[in-house]
Amino acid sequence: MLRNKTYPYYFTWPTLLLYAVFFVVPGLIGFYYALTDWNSYSDEIRFIGLDNFRTLFSSGENYMGYIFNTLKFTVATVVLKTVFGLLFALALNEGIRLKGFHRVMIFMPSIIPMLVVGLIFKSVLNPATGLLNESLRAVGLDFLAQKWLVDAHWAFKSIIGVDTWKGVGYIMIILLAGLQSISRTYYEAAEIDGAGAWHKLRAVTLPLLAPALVVTTVLNLLYGLKVFEAVYVLTNGGPGYATDVLYTAIFKEFSLGRYGVGTALSSLLFLVMTVAGYFVVRLMAREEAEA
């Protein structure tokens, strides 16, 4: 075949090799190490069957709480970012002066390191001196001022809020691009049929925006399940273990040298996300083939 000569397979080998060794292999060997007592105290690694998983699912431990938190974070951020992203996109879709300027501003938090955002909000959410509480007090809304990152009731909500603040601009930009690609003729046709604003939104905008909404949901989902920095920097899992998620729990196991348990947790996430990822990837590849 001439094609195999012009575009030889061996061109892809370095990429495939490095990708496999440093990305896929760690994921796969995880399933073996999850069944061992691998730790930092001894050089010997013994096979212990499903003991690590028994630890994860035992009622005396907090691991189920971390998994639950991860899911809660994921669902909450998917919903919040989508709803606000859509709302902002609809508001800014037309009739805005200095559109480029606003786009740059609203997108800005998305490109700043999460670590930095976390530090900034540690200050903004400080109960005594933080900008948020100060502002609330200044306008007489003292009762709304909370101990945001300290109070167990508010800490996780605050993390979700900060993460939404950072991520919503990105989602808005994607949805805005989706809105701009909807032809005006649909709206004109709907107007002739006597549709009001609400009707146009439901019958024209949302159905035509569905592909973009699928993408933003997938992006938010993948991000949410992998969240680490937002929690690590803002609360490091505290107060107590109230805000720990999967990746912060894995890091704690890693720091304690309990590699076996850490790997077991990682492998759970790996399994779920790779299976989900398979469908995502199929979808991405199919859309591309159509384009």
Binding site: N4, T6, Y7, Y9, F11, T12, P14, L16, L18, Y19, F23, V25, P26, G27, G30, Y33, A91, L92, E94, G95, H102, V104, M105, F107, M108, I111, I112, P113, M114, L115, V116, L119, I120, F121, S123, V124, T129, L131, I173, I174, A177, S181, P211, A212, L225, K226, F251, F254, G262, S266, F270, A276, G277, Y278, V280, V281, R282, M284, E288, A291
Partner: protein, 273 residues
């Protein structure tokens, strides 16, 4: 008519409000980075009486920022180059030679967009390859992590480069490698710029890989250094703010210069016209 104008006015007011909401926390840091210690601890938006530029020199010295700045530059720069090269050549072959095997390999690589990193077992691989706690190790990992999305973006773009150019190149006697780097690669410039900027920002912003795999502080990038600095100087918000500004400034500059590419890159593959 009046109703229309009110709506337009409201829309614009809302846009300004939103921009302000996104910008105020960033401005807060800039303002407080110029105050003295006592005033900065209130962390208010009040402007400083007299800007304390000395905060910046203190931070640069105390936070060892020069070293970590060059570490960040080194990691982000080299991992971008390596990741770009790995992604481009693979995406090119996957897109041009559409065999079943290449199709499967393409899907295998972009599966990495969803796959989570197993940080714990990656240590094993890093130890076996003697890359634990080395600069090269971080560069390789950053590059590899960037490959899936890079391949996805470039693969989509290769299709738009006419195949006739390849054929002309072959007729002129190009070797396969020369065909790639002297004929196709220049035509991929727009998407390569996008991927490069995204990779660079990803590398610069990354915090987790060095957190796991670099113990010695002289190898730390800006992100890890600023986190550590925060731990030591929590009570000096003026210094912490200055450190944050210096860490973030490079990303903001790149963003403002390359925002067209960044936004197109981050939204491409998601919206088809």
């Amino acid at each position: 008519m009046i109703r229309k104008r009110t709506v337009a006015l409201l829309r614009n007011a809302f846009a300004w409000l939103l921009s302000l909401f996104m910008f105020v926390p960033l401005l807060l840091i800039v303002v407080n980075s110029l105050k003295d210690r006592v005033h900065a601890n209130a962390m208010s938006m009040r402007l400083p009486n007299k800007p304390e530029w000395s905060n910046y020199s203190v931070v640069i010295k105390e936070g060892k920022l020069v070293g970590s700045f060059f570490n960040s530059l080194f990691y982000a720069g080299l991992s971008t180059a390596l990741g770009l090269l790995l992604a481009a050549i693979a995406a090119y072959v996957f897109a041009r030679n559409r065999t079943r095997l290449n199709r499967a390999m393409y899907l295998f690589v972009i599966l990495g967009i969803a796959m989570p990193i197993n940080f714990v077992t990656t240590t094993k691989v890093m130890q076996m390859t003697h890359l634990m706690n080395t600069r090269l190790g971080i560069i390789v990992l950053l590059a590899v992590v960037s490959v899936p999305f890079g391949v996805f973006l470039i693969h989509g773009f290769v299709g738009s480069v006419p195949r006739e150019l390849d054929e002309a190149g072959i007729v002129d006697g190009c070797s396969p490698l020369k065909l790639f780097y002297s004929v196709v690669l220049p035509l991929l410039a727009p998407v390569l710029v996008t991927v490069a900027i995204l990779n660079f920002m990803g590398g610069w912003n990354d915090f987790v890989l060095p957190l796991y795999y670099l113990n010695s502080s002289d190898k730390w990038p800006m992100t890890l250094a600023v986190y550590n600095f925060f731990g030591r100087f929590q009570v000096n918000w003026n210094l912490v703010s200055a450190d944050i500004v210096l860490t973030t400034l490079p990303v903001i500059v790149i963003y403002l210069l390359g925002q067209k590419y960044i936004i197109s890159g981050m939204t491409s593959g998601s919206v088809k016209g």
